[in-house]
């Protein structure tokens, strides 16, 4: 695709589709897990060493980071006139940083 806006648009739609599903999975898991109370130990029992869950939450965090940053980029462009390649780079960095925090947290549950 030519313009960066077009690529970002595609990424935003794809991450939105994944996030839609992921939020449902996330909520259903919570609802099933809290039946009969929930403790930190129980959470860790379930997540520690569960590669599938780690993969799921890593993807979740990556999508959320990118999706949010692209959305903020668009709002900043429209409302504040912050546009251009430099800004795009900055938003990408913010998105990846947010994602990194999320992935770090997931890693903590998987490994810690």
């Amino acid at each position: 695709m030519g313009a960066p806006g077009a690529r970002l648009w595609a990424v935003q739609r794809i991450t939105a589709a994944f996030l839609g599903l992921a939020v449902v999975v996330h909520l259903v898991t919570i609802m099933l897990a809290v039946r009969g109370g929930l403790s930190a130990t129980e959470i860790l029992e379930r997540t520690r060493g569960a590669t599938l869950w780690f993969g799921f939450y890593a993807a979740f965090a990556l999508c959320a980071g990118l999706h949010g940053a692209i959305g903020l980029r668009n709002i900043a462009g429209e409302w504040l006139g912050w546009r251009g390649r430099r800004m795009d780079g900055l938003w990408l960095a913010i998105g990846l940083l947010t994602a990194a925090f999320g992935i770090r947290a997931a890693w903590g549950l998987y490994h810690g």
Partner: protein
């Protein structure tokens, strides 16, 4: 019948203000009739634009009580209750020349930018292709093109779009509606440049699909769906490596 209370924006590119007028009310009267009455009887220097008076040319568009409309097809009764003030301003999102007349150049420049002119497929030099294309009237592409072809370039949709107001490069609904009719025209060969032109922040990817354009188009066209069509096409074309 009591007189109509009319408030008209007067001024030019450097600024202006509202001016009050009072016009005899009639049983049947359009906003354009009112503006014409004011120019003929009260303010001979009032600038405005019209041509056909029957909804064919699109030159009479103005903001009436905050909404872009064809003034020749808008009856006073439809926009104001008896006794209510009618506010008339020049079309939004375009530079004002004077009073109610706007400069449409940016609007048409964007049609050109969106590659809104037909590029015959078989003849890059612009000559008439030797063979006629057969375009079945009920083929999907033909129907998509037909849906948007009746645009008369009045600028009502352009004046109704927030993105146009926020992003001066945004091509706007009419230009992209036009691009979409050509994307679906099987006789046209200019799609590569056209799809490049309508993609990204100045193009379809900035549209919020809020549909003000569709809601306000006096020809009942649907530029919002045309833009969605462009997004869809660009998405799949690039995903499947067709671009």
């Amino acid at each position: 019948m009591a007189d109509l209370k009319i408030r008209i924006w007067r001024g030019d590119a450097t600024g202006g203000a509202m001016e009050d007028f009072s016009v005899p009310a009639r049983e049947n009267q359009t906003i354009l009739d009112v503006v014409t009455q004011i120019q003929r009887e009260q303010a001979p220097d009032l600038a405005y634009r019209f041509a056909c008076r029957v909804g064919m040319c699109g030159s009479c568009a103005m903001e009436v009580n905050g909404r872009a409309r064809w003034t020749c097809r808008t009856h006073v009764k439809r926009v104001a209750a008896p006794g209510e003030v009618v506010e008339i301003r020049p079309l939004a999102n375009l530079p004002v020349i004077r009073d109610l007349a706007t400069d449409m150049a940016p609007f048409f420049d964007k049609w050109a930018k969106a590659q809104g002119s037909f590029q015959p497929k078989d003849a890059p030099d612009g000559s008439v292709p030797a063979e006629f294309s057969v375009v079945p009237p009920n083929s999907k592409q033909r129907m998509e093109a037909d849906a948007g072809i009746e645009c008369i370039g009045c600028g009502v949709c352009y004046a109704s779009c927030d993105i146009v107001a926020w992003n001066k490069d945004y091509l706007g609904p009419a230009a992209m509606n036009r691009a979409w009719t050509l994307v679906n025209d099987v006789r046209d060969g200019g799609n590569k440049a056209r799809l490049d032109a309508v993609s990204g922040d100045a193009g379809c990817h900035s549209c919020h699909s809020t549909q003000s354009c569709t809601e306000r188009c006096p020809k009942n066209l649907d530029p919002s769906s045309a833009i969605a069509g462009l997004k869809r096409k660009l998405f799949w074309d690039s995903l499947l490596g067709r671009r």
